[in-house]
C-alpha cells in the first residue's frame, strides 16, 4: 500500500520508493530508505501534508510525495 493511505498513528515498513532521483537522495539522507520503519505522526487537513517519524527524525512531506512511497503496514 501507499504511504499516503496510512492514517495518524499507523506504523509501516518501507518497501519501495518511486520518486525522482533528487528526492530519493534527499529522503535517503533523512533515513527514508527501503527497509526503514516509520510511523505517521500527523496529517494536515485533506492529507495535503503528513508528518512521519523515521529513526527519531520528524519529517514533513506532501501527500503527493507520499503516494510515491510503497509501504507495508505493521
Amino acid at each position: 500500500m501507499k504511504l499516503s493511505e496510512l492514517h495518524k498513528g499507523d506504523r509501516a515498513m518501507i518497501k519501495k520508493i518511486d520518486s525522482s532521483e533528487d528526492l530519493k537522495i534527499r529522503l535517503a539522507s533523512f533515513g527514508v530508505v527501503r527497509g526503514s520503519e516509520l510511523s505517521v505522526e500527523a496529517c494536515s487537513m485533506g492529507k495535503k501534508t503528513m508528518e512521519i517519524m523515521v529513526d527519531d527524525t520528524l519529517i514533513g512531506l506532501r501527500g503527493e510525495e507520499a503516494k510515491e512511497i510503497e509501504v507495508e503496514k505493521l
Binding site: S19, S20, E21, D22, L23, K24, I25, R26, L27, A28, S29, F30, G31, V33, R34, E41, A42, C43, S44, M45, G46, K48, T49, E51, D55, D56, T57, L58, I59, G60, L61, R62, E64, E65
Partner: protein, 699 residues
C-alpha cells in the same frame, strides 16, 4: 605563525553556527531552530592560546551532492577552497543520520575532527555514546561537545590544533557489506599485484571509487593500459552488487551501503535507554500545534496576538518617549539662541529622528515575536501547515520562511529564499517578499492607525493590514505562476526540528541587534535625511512674500494675525524646493487623494521606509500651526488628511518598492538589474491600482 583555517560542515540545524559562537565567545552568527538558517558562508577570526583560528561557517547540507542553492554553497566550498581542517558537526541525538554525511566527507581526504554536538540534550534523553569506539572505527578524533553549556569546547579546540599540526592520518576501519568487501578485495588485490599507485590514494580507496562509479577516478584511469584488464573485473563485481542490492542504480547501492555502515556504527557505539511508552515532549506539542483542525486557527490567533501586543503594549513606552522627545525639543529650543541652528535642530533633526525613534517599542515587540518563531521550532511547523494552502497559490511551503523573515526586514528575507530549490519558486518568492510589510513600515502603520482609529481597534487594523498584504502577495504569486513562471511543482520534504525552549540569550541577541541597528539608522541615515528634507523645505528664502505678509500682519487685528502667520508658513513651504518637487509629482498621485506632502514622503521612502515618517515629521513641524498646543504628528495628520486618503496611503505603502538597500539585494539574488526594473513596475502599478480602488471606495 599562520592562522589555522577551519571549516564547519554538517547537516542543517545541528548547531554549527552556535558552536562557532561558543568557540569564539561571541554572538556574531545567527542561530535558529530550523534548517537553513545560515545561507551564505560566513568567516570569523579569533585567538586561542596565541593562535589565530579562522572559522568558516557553511550552510548545512544533508548530503554532499547538494540539493538547494545554499547547499551548493557548502558543497562548492568543501570541494574547491583551501582550508586546513574540517570540523564535522553532528547532532548526538541523531547520530545515525548525521553519520551519512560524515562518510561522504571522509572521501574528501582532508584533515577532520568530529564534534558530536548537543551533548546536553543527549544526556537528557539518556543517550550514551562511546566516543573512543567511534574514533577507532572512523579514524578521526571525536569530541563530545555542547554549544549550549560549552562543555567540551576547549577540548575540541585543542584537538583541532593537534590535527592541524599533525601530518599523519589514522586509518579508518569502516567495513562495507560482505558482498561489497569481497569485491573491493578482488580489485584491490589486482591493483596491488600490478604494482599500481595513484596519488596518495590507497588501492582500497581506488577500488571503492571504481565500484561507486566515481567519474573523476574513471577520467584519471582512462588512459592507463591497466584499465583493459580491470574492466571485466569491475563489470563482474558490479553484476554481483546489482543482484545483491536488487537494483542497478549505483547511487542507490551507495546509499544502502552507507546506511548499513551508519546503522552498524550506531549499534556499536550508542546506548539509549529511552523510557518506552512515554511520548516525547515534541510529539505532545505537535498533537496540538499541527492538529488537523486547530493548527491553522492557532497560528492565526498567535499572529493576531502579536499585532495586538505590538500596538497596545507598544503604546505605553511610546507615550513616555513622545513626552521625552517633546520636552527635549522644547528645552533645546529654549537654549539655542541662533535662529537658524534652532530651526535645523528642532524642526529638522528632533522632529525627524524623534518621529522614527518613537516606534522603537513596536519594533522590539515585533522582533521578539519573530525571534520566538525562529528559535522554538514552530517555523517549520507553520511551513508544514501552510504548504497545502500555499501550493494552491503556486508557492512552496518552504517559502513561508523567507516570507516571515520579510516581516522583520526584506534584506535577510531575500537571502533566505535560497533554501528553495526550484529557481521558479525562488523567483516568485523574491517578487512577493515585498508584500510582507517589513519592520520599517510598521511605524507608518502605527502612526496612521493610531491617528484614524480608536486605541481599541488599532491592533486589529494592524493585523488586517499585515494579513491583507500577505494575502495580496499570495494572489500575486498565483498570477506570476500562471503568467510568467510556469513550471513543474517542487516536492515538499522538510525536517521538523525538535521543539526547543527559546533561550533568553538567543532571543535577546536577535532583538538587541535589530533594535540597535534601528536606533543607529535613526541616528545616522535618518538624521541626515531629516536635515536634507528640512533644508529643501526651508529654502529658497522668499523675502518678497515675507515682506508682503509682514505688512499685512502689522495692519490686522490679533486673531487675524495668527491666521495670516499660518498662511505665510504654508505658502513658504509650498514654494520651497521640496514643495516644488512635491507639486510637480502631485498630479500622479492626486487620483489617490494624496497631497504634495504625502507624495514627497512616499518618494523619500524609496530610500528607506523610516524616512516616510521622519519626512512627515519635518514637514508638519515646519508647517506647525502657531496656536496649536499639541504638536503630536498624529494630530496633525488627522487634521490635514481625509480618512480615504489615509487608507489609500497605507495601501500604497504596503505594496510599493522596498527600500534602496533591499532593492539592491533583490537584484543580486534574482540575478540582475533587469529584475529590479520588473519589480519596480510590478509593485508601483499594483500599489497605484489598489490605492486608487481603496480611495474611490472610501471616498
Amino acid at each position: 605563525m599562520d592562522a589555522i583555517k577551519i571549516v564547519l560542515a554538517g547537516q542543517p540545524n545541528v548547531g554549527k553556527s552556535m558552536l562557532i559562537n561558543a568557540m569564539s565567545g561571541s554572538n556574531g552568527l545567527k542561530v535558529g531552530n530550523f534548517s537553513g538558517v545560515t545561507v551564505e558562508k560566513t568567516e570569523l577570526c579569533f585567538e586561542h592560546h596565541c593562535h589565530m583560528f579562522e572559522m568558516v561557517d557553511l550552510p548545512g547540507t544533508y548530503s554532499i551532492s547538494g540539493f538547494s542553492q545554499e547547499e551548493k554553497v557548502a558543497h562548492k566550498y568543501l570541494l574547491n577552497e583551501e582550508y586546513d581542517v574540517i570540523i564535522n558537526v553532528l547532532d548526538s541525538t541523531h547520530l545515525k543520520r548525521n553519520l551519512l554525511l560524515t562518510l561522504e566527507l571522509l572521501k574528501l581526504n582532508k584533515k577532520m575532527v568530529l564534534a558530536l554536538n548537543m551533548a546536553d540534550e543527549a544526556k537528557k534523553e539518556n543517550i550514551e555514546i562511546d566516543v573512543r569506539q567511534i574514533e577507532k572505527i572512523i579514524g578521526v578524533p571525536v569530541v563530545l561537545v555542547s554549544a549550549n553549556t560549552k562543555e567540551g569546547v576547549e577540548e575540541l579546540l585543542e584537538k583541532v590544533h593537534e590535527v592541524a599540526d599533525n601530518q599523519e592520518r589514522i586509518k579508518s576501519n569502516i567495513t562495507y557489506s560482505d558482498v561489497m568487501e569481497e569485491e573491493i578485495l578482488e580489485i584491490e588485490t589486482f591493483l596491488t599485484q600490478k604494482g599500481f599507485a595513484l596519488r596518495d590514494l590507497s588501492n582500497r580507496e581506488i577500488a571503492l571509487r571504481l565500484l561507486f562509479e566515481d567519474k573523476d577516478i574513471y577520467k584519471e584511469l582512462h588512459d592507463e593500459p591497466l584499465m583493459m584488464e580491470l574492466q571485466p573485473i569491475i563489470l563482474k563485481a558490479l553484476q554481483h552488487l546489482y543482484t545483491h542490492h536488487d537494483t542497478k542504480n549505483v547511487q542507490e547501492i551507495k546509499a544502502n551501503e552507507y546506511h548499513a555502515i551508519a546503522r552498524g556504527i550506531h549499534l556499536e557505539t550508542v546506548r539509549c535507554q529511552r523510557n518506552k511508552g512515554k511520548k516525547s515532549l515534541t510529539k505532545r506539542i505537535d498533537e496540538v500545534l499541527i492538529n488537523k483542525y486547530l493548527g491553522i486557527p492557532i497560528f492565526l490567533f498567535l499572529m493576531w496576538g502579536l499585532f495586538q501586543l505590538t500596538f497596545t503594549l507598544g503604546a505605553i513606552p511610546m507615550d513616555w518617549i513622545d513626552g521625552a522627545i517633546g520636552a527635549f525639543g522644547d528645552w533645546v529650543g529654549s537654549t539655542i539662541s541662533n535662529e537658524f541652528m534652532r530651526n535645523v535642530i528642532v524642526d529638522g533633526i528632533i522632529a525627524g529622528v524623534g518621529a522614527v525613534l518613537l516606534f522603537l517599542p513596536n519594533i522590539i515587540i515585533l522582533y521578539i515575536g519573530i525571534a520566538l518563531l525562529e528559535t522554538t521550532g514552530y517555523m517549520s511547523r507553520v511551513a508544514f501547515l501552510l504548504d497545502g494552502f500555499f501550493h494552491k497559490f503556486g508557492l512552496h511551503g518552504k517559502s513561508f520562511i523567507p516570507l516571515v523573515t520579510g516581516f522583520g526586514c526584506s534584506v535577510p528575507a531575500y537571502m533566505a529564499a535560497r533554501t528553495l530549490k526550484s529557481e521558479k519558486d525562488r523567483l516568485i518568492t523574491l517578487f512577493i517578499i515585498g508584500f510582507m510589510s517589513c519592520g520599517a513600515r510598521l511605524p507608518i502603520y502605527v502612526l496612521f492607525t493610531g491617528a484614524f482609529f480608536g486605541a481599541d481597534s488599532a491592533g486589529n487594523i494592524l493585523f488586517i493590514i499585515y494579513i491583507s498584504g500577505a494575502m495580496l502577495g499570495l494572489v500575486m504569486a498565483k498570477v506570476l505562476r500562471v503568467v510568467v513562471f510556469k513550471g513543474e511543482d517542487e516536492p515538499f520534504v522538510m525536517e521538523m526540528p525538535k521543539y526547543r525552549f527559546p533561550s533568553f540569550t538567543l532571543v535577546w541577541h536577535t532583538v538587541y541587534n535589530n533594535a540597535k541597528s534601528y536606533v543607529k539608522k535613526a541616528g545616522t541615515f535618518i538624521l541626515g535625511a531629516s536635515v536634507l528634507i528640512w533644508v529643501l523645505a526651508t529654502y529658497p528664502n522668499q523675502p518678497l512674500l515675507e515682506q508682503e505678509y509682514q505688512t499685512k500682519i502689522e495692519q490686522s487685528a490679533k486673531e487675524d494675525a495668527i491666521t495670516l502667520e499660518n498662511e505665510l508658513k504654508m505658502k513658504k513651504l509650498e514654494q520651497s524646493y521640496l514643495g516644488k518637487i512635491g507639486k510637480a509629482s502631485e498630479p500622479l498621485f492626486a487620483p489617490l487623494g494624496f497631497d504634495w506632502k504625502m507624495t514627497v514622503a512616499l518618494e523619500a521612502g524609496l530610500a528607506a521606509k523610516e524616512v516616510v515618517v521622519s519626512t512627515l515629521g519635518v514637514l508638519y513641524a515646519i508647517g506647525d500651526n502657531v496656536d496649536e498646543n499639541s504638536n503630536a504628528l498624529s494630530h496633525e495628520l488627522k487634521k490635514n488628511i481625509s480618512f480615504a486618503s489615509a487608507m489609500a496611503f497605507i495601501v500604497f505603502v504596503m505594496i510599493y518598492l522596498p527600500c534602496l538597500a533591499a532593492s539592491m539585494v533583490f537584484a543580486k539574488e534574482a540575478g540582475g538589474y533587469k529584475y529590479l526594473v520588473y519589480l519596480f513596475i510590478f509593485t508601483t502599478v499594483t500599489a497605484w491600482v489598489f490605492s486608487f480602488i481603496t480611495y474611490r471606495i472610501l471616498l
